[in-house]
Amino acid sequence: MFITSEHMAQRNHMSSFELMVMLVLIRLGDEAYGVPISREIERTSGREVPMGSVYATLERLETKGMVAAELGEPTVERGGRAKRYFKVTARGLREVRDTQRTLMQLWKNLPALERGKA
């Protein structure tokens, strides 16, 4: 019991939105900054996503060491503001793989979620 809770405390469990952002970052590669990230999330989820929430999530992931940020050049169409590019770190990739493995395990043998029943 003690070992389990200690193990859980050491791991950074991602929320579903954090996982979504991580997957979008991986998908976008070098072009991952605020605008395409929010558009991609909107396109795939079909919901409007507040930019503030996207940035808050990215900041949290950065603090956890799963994402690294880098400033681009300021551009006129952005009112002289620089783009902030985000990319997934090695640690972030490891966490995504772990989460995927866990979810795949949890997904197996669930009769209630079999096609046509849910």
């Binding site: 930019m51 808050a56 400033l71």
Partner: protein
């Protein structure tokens, strides 16, 4: 490129009150979205959500600091209420009613005199507003002064607590207290405006409305 106008006040609000150090990039992203055809309403909504999300994130990260800031901000009116009430308040009411109006018990004890107080005595309303502003400014200054390292979040948390309490107060009077006579709408308006004004002066007292070194500090961190 489509030159759609960007809501300047919204941008100013985000730059001033956004708690994230990455606000400049966020503003750039919002401008880019706006240029690609998003509405002004969408822009405003994004700005307000970004400010709220930033503040909530900071509060989550610094819970103790938040509690301390709110406690400091409220300590002056609460001490005043519990230490001086009811003796001094009664005395002050006879001498200077505009001091007592700051007091929560004022609304209970002197409710029937509100109309006379606001409109009947020359200067009362102005004195009330001036005192409200002065107290708000001083409390904002105090909270900022005691959180010199990063005053933005503590001052905003305190201002938010004042705003929430004011809203709860008026909701209570409007919905729950059925026995009281209804407030004369212009008076209600004056008190609601005064409450919200005190939020603005708290922010001013905390130095959040100044175009200060923060901008330079922010630029320094991003370059």
């Amino acid at each position: 490129m489509n030159h759609t106008s960007v809501p300047r006040i919204a941008t100013w609000l985000l730059k001033r009150f956004g708690c994230s150090p990455k606000n400049d990039s966020l503003v750039g992203d919002l401008i880019e979205h706006r240029q690609s055809g998003r509405s002004r309403f969408w822009y405003w909504k994004q700005v307000l959500v970004a400010i709220a999300a930033g503040l909530v994130g900071e509060i989550r990260e610094h819970k103790l600091l938040t509690v301390r800031a709110i406690a400091i901000g409220w300590s002056v009116p609460i001490l005043y209420h519990f230490v001086f009430h009811p003796f001094i308040v009664e005395m002050l009411w006879r001498l200077e009613p505009w001091i007592v109006v700051q007091h929560p018990s004022f609304y209970h004890s002197y409710y029937h005199d509100l109309e006379r107080f606001v409109w009947g005595e020359s200067g009362s309303l102005l004195q009330f507003l001036a005192l409200q502003c002065l107290l708000g400014f001083l409390n904002g200054w105090l909270v900022a002064r005691l959180n010199r390292g990063n005053p933005r979040m503590p001052v905003m948390a305190y201002a938010a607590s004042v705003s929430i309490c004011a809203m709860m107060n008026w909701t209570y009077y409007l919905l729950v207290t059925g026995q009281m006579p209804p407030l004369f709408p212009p008076i209600l308006f004056v008190f609601v405006v005064a409450d919200q004004l005190s939020v603005v002066v708290i922010l001013a007292g905390g130095g959040l409305l100044r175009d200060s070194k923060r901008k330079d500090a922010f630029r320094a961190t991003t370059t």
